[in-house]
């Protein structure tokens, strides 16, 4: 892919994520929602940027607001929305609702744990099997600044670094662990500083700049594939909405207005793509999201049997 085409493709992914985020926001405000929706509005550049550096067969553990990661990795919007709305056509067969467990092993989407920060050790395991089976697959593990506090990060990072596992940790630092700001969670300004303890590169990148995220991730992926071990990328981004949709965020004084994204990653990337192309991609993304939602809302609810499906092989 030429550089211009790659940038255009990246914009397309950002636009698709944004369109879904905005549509979900609208739908939930008008009709409510059965579960909890954790919006990722404003974090599109981290998700699409990092995933753009992965191959289809690389593994992905997305994070709490990871709709965009799964979409950019190749999961169809209909499947993702069906998961969110708990319909049979979702990847988990209708068990979902709210923040769910999107999965597609054929394209390396390995799911999410409900206990935040649990993917560090699982991701390390996927890295071990890639290493043992002699593939050059890489594992991307997304997490927030809140999850960075988990001991699982330390336990995984220590051994992953010693064993040179093919991992890329992508920290989506949006500045808030639910209600606690980063300054009260971290003794250092950058979470990436922690990489030094494990002797691996720690990289800080502008999380609103999709190309910067993509390029930093691409470098980490090259290292991982070459058997040189993990990299910690910290992408500084923003949390526009509440922890979940409906969270009034009374704990915040820096509230932005509604859906406005300061340092909007789409606007930043637009400087690199022709305006008419970007307009067309925005329009396509909106149409794709709307038709997906329409299709999903017409889907049947799962049968009751779903509650006992998949306990055993």
């Amino acid at each position: 892919m030429s550089e211009a085409n790659a940038d255009l493709e990246l914009y397309r992914q950002l636009a698709r994520i944004r369109a879904l985020e905005l549509l979900l926001n609208r739908h939930i405000s008008e009709h409510g929602f059965g579960g909890f929706w954790h919006p990722g509005l404003g974090q599109e550049a981290v998700q699409a940027g990092a995933v753009a550096a992965l191959r289809t067969d690389d593994y992905l553990f997305y994070a709490h607001r990871g709709l965009g990661c799964a979409l950019a990795k190749g999961m169809p919007p209909v499947t993702l929305l069906a998961d969110l709305f708990g319909r049979r056509g979702g990847s988990v067969g209708g068990k979902g609702g709210g923040t769910v467990h999107f999965v597609d092993p054929d394209i390396g989407v390995l799911g999410q744990g409900g206990t935040v920060g649990s993917s560090f050790v699982l991701g390390a395991g996927a890295g071990i099997s890639a290493q043992m089976l002699g593939t050059d697959r890489v594992v991307a593990i997304f997490f927030g600044d809140g999850a960075a506090a988990r001991g699982t990060f330390h336990e995984a990072a220590l051994t992953a670094a010693v064993w040179k596992l093919p991992l890329v940790w992508v920290c989506e630092n949006n500045g808030w662990a639910i209600s606690v700001p980063i300054a009260e969670q971290s003794p250092t300004e950058d979470i990436a500083d922690r990489a030094a303890a494990y002797g691996v590169p720690g990289v800080v990148v502008d999380g609103q700049d999709a190309i910067a995220v993509r390029d930093a991730t691409a470098e980490a992926v090259v290292r991982a594939r070459a058997g040189e071990g993990p990299t910690l990328i910290e992408a500084k981004t923003l949390r526009i909405r509440g922890h979940y949709e409906g969270d009034k965020q009374a704990y915040r004084e820096d509230l932005t207005d509604g859906l406005e994204v300061p340092r909007d990653p789409l606007k930043i990337l637009r400087e690199r793509v022709p305006a008419e192309e970007a307009d067309r991609l925005d329009e396509e993304a909106r149409a794709e999201a709307e038709s997906a939602l329409e299709e999903v809302l017409a889907m049947p609810e799962p049968d009751e049997e779903v509650v006992t499906e998949g306990v055993w092989v």
């Binding site: 699982l122 395991g125 043992m132 051994t159």
Partner: protein, 329 residues
């Protein structure tokens, strides 16, 4: 047929691991000191030398990594056999054991599976204290998605472990560390397997059914010998796996004897024995001539002193006394 050679319980586990790793190259191991040292109890001795550091991986002291990495590796095409040095350490990796191992497949619409074994040295050993001596198998029964094996003989240790490794579901394998040196006949056939969900009737008897697990199986058999001298014949049943649990064998025994005693090493309250006792009365209430009784450890912690710890868990004399009293009811 020639008699199977005598082998220790630990050695039988070692043989199962070696055979399965030879049979299937996707099988590998990880845990603290499982490599060069051959495990703190010597169970994995020689495997590092045979299979190398890539397939027998020494980890550091990080239980969430040991179990969590095994889960991640299991869902991506390999078959890990992870070892925690003591079953008690499951609690350190609680999220990994009870959520990730047990539920990942379920939560993800059966699109992934977690074919792994977690080896858990369990029970009293003599002086290892309150946090290294527990029998926590009931926890495994409380999280649907986990298979639970509890071998009581060297042959079962080998045959159940081989079945566990070949099972596409995650398995908690509780091996009794106090029994590592116990010897018994162990078949050499590399395809010798002990199926899950099939209880073993260790002794036939007509007066009462004793359902015993792990270390209690041997103690129940000794108690049965004692009572046989008095003309009381106990039937001793070893479920071997708690998930799946072979209630059919247990219930049909109780239907014949009319009396049931359940013996476990775990704390008596809310143990596996409570579940078994409840299921017996549900299924065989009208065959019972007496209440279903349970024996288990006292509701206390295991004291560090080796002499005191035996006071806490059921002994042969207690099982014999309880059975004698139950039969007399």
């Amino acid at each position: 047929m020639t008699e199977a050679p005598q082998l220790g319980y630990a050695r039988a586990i070692n043989q199962a691991l070696g055979e399965e790793m030879r049979r299937e190259e996707r099988v590998w191991m990880l845990g603290q000191d499982v490599g060069r040292m051959g495990g703190v109890f010597g169970v994995t001795r020689g495997l590092f030398e045979e299979f190398g550091a890539g397939r027998v991986r020494d980890t550091t002291l990080n239980e969430t990594f040991i179990v969590g990495a095994a889960v991640g590796a299991a869902m991506t095409g390999t078959i890990p056999v992870a070892e925690l040095q003591f079953a008690d350490f499951m609690l350190i990796a609680g999220d990994e054991v009870f959520h990730k191992m047990a539920k990942w497949r379920y939560m993800h619409g059966a699109r992934l599976s977690v074919p792994m074994v977690l080896r858990l040295p369990t029970g009293v050993l003599g002086g290892v204290g309150a946090e290294h001596s527990q029998s926590l198998e009931a926890l495994g029964m409380h999280f649907p998605g986990l298979r639970v094996a509890l071998p009581a003989t060297p042959a079962d240790a080998k045959g159940l472990l081989k079945t566990a490794i070949r099972d596409p579901n995650p398995v908690l394998f509780f091996e009794h560390k106090g029994m590592y040196r116990v010897k018994g006949p162990v078949p050499e056939d590399p395809d010798f397997l002990v199926p899950f969900g099939e209880a073993a009737v260790r002794r036939r008897g007509e007066h009462a059914s004793v359902v015993a697990t792990g270390l209690m199986v041997g103690r129940a058999l000794e108690a049965a010998e004692e009572l046989a001298a008095e003309g009381v014949e106990l039937e001793v049943i070893d479920p071997r796996t708690l998930v799946p649990l072979d209630m059919e064998t247990i219930v049909s025994s109780v239907e014949r004897t009319g009396r049931a005693l359940v013996a476990q090493e775990a704390v008596r309250t809310a143990g596996a024995g409570a579940e078994i006792a409840a299921r017996i009365q549900e299924a065989a209430f009208f065959s019972l001539d007496a209440p279903v009784w349970r024996l288990g450890a006292m509701d206390t912690s295991i004291p560090q002193s080796p002499d005191l710890e035996q006071l806490v868990i059921p002994g042969v004399a207690q099982i014999a006394a309880a059975a004698r009293e139950l039969v007399a009811l």
